[in-house]
Amino acid sequence: MKSVIETEHLSKWYGNVLGLSDVSLQIEPGITGILGPNGAGKSTFLKLISGQIKPNIGTSAIKGERIWNNYRLFSNIGFCPEQDAFYEDLTGWQFMTGLLRLFHFSPSERESRAREALEIVELMEDKDRIIKSYSRGMRQRLKVAQAIAHDPEIIILDEPLNGLDPLGRRKIIRLIKTYKSEGRTIIVSSHVLPEIEAMTKRIILIHQGKIFAQGDIHYIRDLIEAHPHIVSVKCSDPRQLASKFIQEDFVLNVNFSSAEDTLLVETNNRDKFFSLLPPLIVKHNIEVEEITSPDDNLQAVFDYLVGK
């Protein structure tokens, strides 16, 4: 797939403070999650690829065109900033139509696009209230609305789920996934691992201004083979299965859940484990109800990568 956003040796300093260091990557259509703790450089990266700031070293381009000071690109880019900043004395409707005016839409198109975006984020009922009176969640949804109102191909969302209630989060996640299915490019940052995990498996891990890892969660897992991996097998005879696995050199530890119906196997070689599991199940006629990887989530990978 052809990449939409490309960066080469992208670096940014704020005085003596390093914001981002030597980031070279390509982002393809679909959802890409930017993950890292606060201050890792996620926002700096998003500001660089949305033309908010210029790099000290390196280049960034969208569809081959430089980003910094290239305003024409923005007819196809939607950006939801992290900061909770608004024109507080405007109503939600005025805010939306005012920003859409800068896209040179006709008055009727401005209104229809504003209405559509506000309906998507469920703010239509509150459109005539001044933003100052909005709750944190409403403000967050309004930020998302202004990023999607002009129907952009590329959507950059900096911590879009901050301040949203669980229902609001679920709706925004669903919206992001809808955009993915339409072939758009969505870049989402978060410091909350399950948020990113709920949206995508394609992630970029950033820490201290550097990319720690990127790719599919499983690819990243492969990168850190030495890191123990836990597989949970809920089955009819976990003790028998454990006795078979314990003999293998790639199995470091076996354990049982409190209900004693689930076997927890700690392995340093996932592939070997999963190639051995099916023959054992068949040979010993064990009924398997569920196989899961409790630590096959971003938290485990991230903790390992940052050396916690």
């Binding site: 704020y14 949305s50 033309g51 908010q52 700031i53 210029k54 000071n69 305003y71 024409r72 690109l73 923005f74 007819s75 880019i77 939607g78 950006f79 900033p81 900061q83 900043a85 608004f86 024109y87 004395d89 405007l90 805010f95 005012g98 920003l99 800068l102 896209f103 040179h104 202004q146």
Partner: protein, 245 residues
């Protein structure tokens, strides 16, 4: 994007202040036994002392520096710079909006002051030429000063402090310097468009003026406006604004 801030209300009230002064003067004239000073004479002095040397500077300073700084300080610049509009167009658009607002606010005050002070001579249509001239000169002043302060606002964080020093230091001192030095003050060109009063209580404010020709003065006002607005556009386009946490 507009801002319906309390700042607007404050500045509107300030711009109306001369109207209150005009009212007090007029009421005092009605109640006093002394021969009243001509309304047009008071109006001319009010135009120079209150509007030209104080009010338009204040309005231009706060609106001009706000063009850029309020977006940066309010962290709303992101919404504007992620639209398919050049940064120069954004800056010029906001400058034009703020200048127009300041001109309207000032004009309302000037017209009301004029009408109040000349209440007993409203049918003397020759006086309206003075009103028109003063409104035009003050509008040119607002246009020029706002452009200058827009430029200052794009390069400086403490632009208000610098602006106050410039407005009430530089502009108020340099204009009284003899010779060509006074041409380094914007107010010199604005005053060159006004007649020099020969007599009167406030004539000392004009006596040192060595006016430029009206045509040259207008040219210089537009040139200064163009240069500073152009510089502001260049700076605003290429400078990156990093929000403070």
């Amino acid at each position: 994007m507009g801002r319906k801030s309390s700042k607007l209300k404050v500045f509107f009230l300030i711009s109306i202040l001369p109207v209150v002064i005009a009212l007090i003067i007029k009421v005092n004239q009605f109640l006093s036994d002394r021969t009243p000073i001509q309304g047009i004479f008071i109006f001319n002095n009010m135009s120079v002392v209150i509007y030209l040397q104080f009010l338009i500077l204040l309005l231009a300073l706060f609106y001009g520096t706000s063009v850029c700084s309020e977006e940066v300080e309010g962290k709303t610049l992101t919404y504007l710079t992620t639209r398919p509009v050049s940064k120069s167009a954004l800056l010029v658009g906001k400058y034009a909006a703020y200048t127009s607002l300041a001109i309207i606010m000032t004009s309302i005050g000037v017209i009301l002051s004029f009408l109040i002070l000349n209440l007993d001579d409203l049918l003397n249509f020759s006086l309206y030429k003075t009103l028109l001239r003063d409104v035009v000169v003050l509008s040119l002043g607002l246009m020029c000063y706002t452009a200058f302060f827009t430029f200052i606002g794009t390069i400086m964080k403490k632009s208000i402090l610098f602006g106050l020093i410039f407005s009430f230091g530089w502009e108020n001192v340099i204009q009284y310097f003899p010779g060509s030095t006074q041409r380094f003050a914007i107010v010199h060109y604005l005053k060159s468009l006004l007649p020099v009063p020969k007599t009167g209580r406030f004539s000392f404010l004009m006596v040192r003026l060595e006016p430029s020709s009206p045509l040259f003065a207008v040219f210089m006002i537009f040139l200064i406006t163009g240069v500073f607005l152009g510089l502001a556009c260049i700076l605003f386009s290429w400078k990156e604004y990093i929000f403070e946490d």
